[in-house]
């Protein structure tokens, strides 16, 4: 890097950026693929057609539209007075590189080699390459100019203005989420392009958010949402409830979003144990399983061990309590066992649970036959798995589960946030930081640690009860070790100790596999690679909480001014709500 810096004189920044921006615009207008994809029925790669911009100027869409936008913005940023210009340019450059690489690689691999993206059969297409080069130029421009610190807005605004800003940002966020879920449609054999289109949109959004972050907009919004917590949370919940009314309001996405919600709630529970108290738990999914099996047994399903059908709320409470008791039992070794050894203990517990469920111990789990046909929740004559009609508006089926799970996630978030900012939350963090010192401060560390396990498990048990009714079949193999690892990955990926992080992590870990169905052979490999890269370049997680950031990002050590340390640098404005 330092040698690169010697070659790149600051004076080169502007010409490089302008060149990169113009090249990106040209790339958007070039064709990207040389021929139709015969194996998909002669289907063309979406939005790849040549020079369509000149026939129909406003029909440029998809990744080519994104490339055009990024290119124009790069030129504007290079010429206009923008704070933290070179940081912004670098972010936009990475966005261009991501869009170019993802589409080019997919087209080349699926289209039969480099010919598909360069020149073949008389057709030429260099759009993808031009896009990557443009991105690299923008990144070099950023490096040449010297990367500035994130700009900080000190503007104070009146409450109504702040509300308006927050409202607008959350609505934009809602639309972005809907757009992301819908990008490329539902993955699968019938729709081979879902993966690249989705990833490409993700690359574009990452670049755009990186740029907004550099300018200081996201930091400012997250500061505002910190100041108006209650309002932010309310609006955020409303936005989540509005999702069914957007383009993502299909049966399929309602189901997926509900699954994300269940995992997000569980991940937040795990976050208490791992993120706050610093106790590594590798068998956490067992508590979700315990909750699900308890609820299934009280649901009146034919295979249930108890022939009673309890109302859902009651069954959910019992599920949560039972899971909590098991949590306390698993947590009790923490009195004696620390660190790696505790991880092994929890791992063993997870395996014991799985094997016990597989062998139908006590006749409670149905063994390999599982507990099928758990009836859907039914309130006021409305079954939760049917579609809901309000007046003339028909909402997709699964929307009621979605709403229930939004409420569940909101509840779990409140529990987490309230505990974190209380006596017990400080005790947990103190234990994580230095257990002996915490004891010397009068904290009964044993009690506190067991309480962490108990509360985390209770929340997971609650999520499990919803899970049982929603999926209608509760089988032991839904609760394998890999699920525990995925939950842990969601927590760490999102940022330990942070709620928005856990939700984002759970969402990414569930949406990515859905979108990448056609890459199913490589799915886990890509997934592992992504985790390695994120942990290498952002060890504090995507949306870290303040403590973790200080610990892992080493911002203090690099001499960032103290005021900057206090600014929450989250990539998404919405995501800082619950800190």
């Amino acid at each position: 890097m330092s040698q690169l810096k010697d070659v790149l004189k600051p004076g080169l920044a502007r010409p490089l950026a302008v060149g990169g921006g113009v090249l990106a615009v040209i790339a958007a207008l070039l064709p990207w693929v040389t021929y139709k994809f015969a194996q998909y029925g002669g289907d063309n790669y979406p939005a790849a057609a040549s020079l369509q911009f000149f026939d129909a100027p406003f029909q440029l869409e998809g990744y080519r539209l994104h490339t055009l936008i990024l290119g124009v913005v790069v030129v504007v940023v290079a010429l206009a007075p923008v704070p933290a210009r070179h940081r912004v340019l670098r972010a936009l450059g990475w966005g261009l590189v991501a869009v170019g690489v993802i589409n080019t690689v997919f087209a080349a691999v699926e289209g039969g080699g480099l010919g598909a993206v360069t020149a073949a059969d008389g057709a030429i297409a260099f759009g993808g390459f031009a896009c990557v080069v443009a991105g690299v130029l923008a990144i070099l421009a950023g490096i040449a100019g010297g990367i500035e610190h994130v700009h900080v807005w000190r503007a104070k605004v009146a409450t109504p203005v702040a509300y308006l800003v927050l409202l607008v940002s959350f609505v934009v966020l809602l639309l972005l989420v809907a757009m992301m879920l819908n990008a490329g449609g539902q993955g699968g054999v019938g729709n081979p392009y879902a993966g690249p289109i989705f990833l490409s949109l993700l690359g574009f959004l990452a670049g755009a958010l990186g740029a907004l972050h550099g300018v200081g907009l996201t930091g400012w919004i997250s500061k505002l949402s910190d100041q108006h917590k209650v309002f932010s949370v309310a609006v955020l919940v409303l936005c989540a409830l509005a999702l069914p009314f957007t383009e993502a309001g299909t049966d399929y996405w309602m189901t997926t979003a509900a699954n994300i919600g269940i995992y997000a709630a569980t991940a937040i529970g795990l976050n208490i144990v791992v993120g706050l108290a610093g106790l590594l738990d590798l068998g956490y999914v067992a508590f979700l399983g315990i909750g699900a099996f308890v609820a299934a047994n009280f649901s009146g399903a034919a295979a249930a061990a108890f022939g009673v059908e309890l109302p859902f709320v009651l069954a959910a409470i019992i599920a949560a309590v039972v899971a909590g008791i098991f949590g306390a039992i698993v947590g009790s070794p923490t009195l004696r066992v620390r660190g790696d050894y505790l991880a092994i203990v929890t791992l063993a517990f997870g395996e014991i649970f799985k094997k016990a469920a597989q062998n139908n111990i006590g006749g409670l789990t149905g063994g390999a036959n599982a507990i099928p046909n758990v009836p859907p929740i039914n309130w006021f004559g409305q079954s939760f798995d049917k579609s809901l009609t309000i007046g003339s508006l028909e909402l997709p089926s699964g929307v009621l589960y979605y709403v229930l799970i939004i409420v569940l996630v909101a509840l779990v978030m409140v529990v987490f946030a309230n505990l974190k900012n209380a006596r017990i939350g400080r005790a947990w963090i103190a234990i994580r930081e230095d257990e002996d010192a915490a004891r010397a401060m009068g904290i009964k560390t044993g009690q506190a640690k067991i309480l962490a396990f108990l509360i985390g498990a209770t929340l997971a048990g609650l999520a499990g009860a919803v899970f049982a009714h929603k999926t209608s079949t509760v089988a032991y193999d839904s609760f394998q070790f890999i699920e525990s690892v995925t939950l842990l990955a969601a927590v760490i990926l999102g940022g330990m100790g942070s709620i928005p992080g856990a939700v984002l992590g759970a969402a990414l870990l569930l949406v990515l596999p859905e979108k990448l169905r056609e890459f199913s052979d490589y799915r886990l490999m890509l997934f592992g690679l992504a985790l390695i890269l994120i942990m290498r370049f952002r060890p504090q997680g995507l949306v870290p909480d303040r403590h973790r950031r200080a610990e892992l990002a080493d911002e203090g050590a690099e001499g960032v001014p103290i005021e900057e340390l206090n600014v929450h640098d989250t990539p998404g404005g919405s995501t800082a709500v619950a800190r």
Partner: protein, 296 residues
């Protein structure tokens, strides 16, 4: 000075396997007193400290706080009224200064998990009180305005002060300071001395382990000297300072004696003494090394 001591150790012995780290150490701390505990490396000072804070249960003998035998659990000892700082600073580095002190308030707050969960009026009052008291303590130790700073970002001297504030937040009757001036420059040491005097003014009795004898003798009302696990001498600083056993055991031989030895050695070797004009024996001021630090 009242007759009944706040803290009293009687005949405390600590045996690790075959090693007697402490034997029959007795010590009394009265209200409003600053007691210094000195001794060479390995004398058992930190072991004794650990017996006072519940980290170790003495093999023989008892420690009582206001007449009550101490429990053998550090958390319970803190609740009973003994707070401590650590030889190598042990703050919660990724928490803010204020949060660190508020952790110290933990045992004095009545806020159960349910109150924490629902953030009711009782929670808000308790939280506000703890916050106010913590800010007050930060002011007291001279960290005004640094409450929102992460502990890890504070300079060394401020971290020491923060550790004292955190210990004071537990409302102790006795404060144990384990080498409070280690690594400090003279100005910081003087500030620490003033701070300890101020703490005494608030009615807290203080025990200090230190290697800096100058600091100890100018600070304490009473000094105890531990050597090889035994209480060698105790008394007022002037008495202890002049005691030849202390000088020999702790400070080494007096400078003039050493000088005489050097001269004698030089004469025996048949060369003129290089020590005559330049020989200065600096006061011994060594860091407590791994031997004791590893006990914890």
């Amino acid at each position: 000075m009242t007759a009944t001591p706040v803290l009293s150790a009687s005949n405390v012995s600590m045996v690790f396997g075959g090693l007697t780290a402490l034997s029959e150490v007795s010590l009394q701390l009265h209200e409003g007193q600053i007691l210094g505990l000195i001794g060479p490396n390995g004398a058992g000072k930190t072991t004794f400290f650990n017996c006072l804070t519940g980290l170790y249960t003495p093999t023989r003998g008892t420690v009582t706080l206001r007449g009550r035998t101490l429990p053998s659990d550090p958390a319970a000892v803190t609740v009973a009224g003994i707070a401590r700082t650590f030889q190598n600073i042990r703050l919660f580095p990724s928490m803010t200064a204020l949060e660190n002190v508020m952790v110290g308030r933990h045992s004095r707050m009545k806020q159960g998990p349910l109150a924490s969960l629902f953030h009711g009026p009782a929670y808000r009052k308790g939280e506000a009180d703890a916050r106010a008291r913590s800010l007050e303590l930060l002011d007291f130790v001279g960290l005004t305005g640094l409450d929102d700073e992460l502990a890890r970002n504070l300079p060394y001297g401020d971290q020491r002060r923060l550790e004292i504030a955190r210990a004071l937040a537990t409302d102790p009757a006795v404060l144990l300071l384990d080498e409070p001036t280690a690594g400090m420059n003279p100005q910081e040491t003087e500030a620490a001395r003033q701070l300890i005097f101020a703490i005494r003014e608030t009615g807290v009795a203080v025990v200090v382990i230190e290697h800096d004898t100058k600091f100890i003798f100018s600070l304490c009302d009473h000094v105890s000297v531990l050597v090889q696990g035994q209480l060698l001498v105790e008394g007022a600083p002037e008495v202890v300072r002049g005691d030849p056993r202390v000088i020999e055991a702790y400070l080494g031989k007096p400078p003039d004696e050493v000088e005489a030895e050097v001269r004698q050695y030089a004469e025996e070797a048949g060369r003129p003494s290089a020590a005559e004009s330049t020989m200065v024996i600096p006061p011994v001021r060594e860091r407590d090394g791994g031997s004791e630090g590893g006990n914890r």
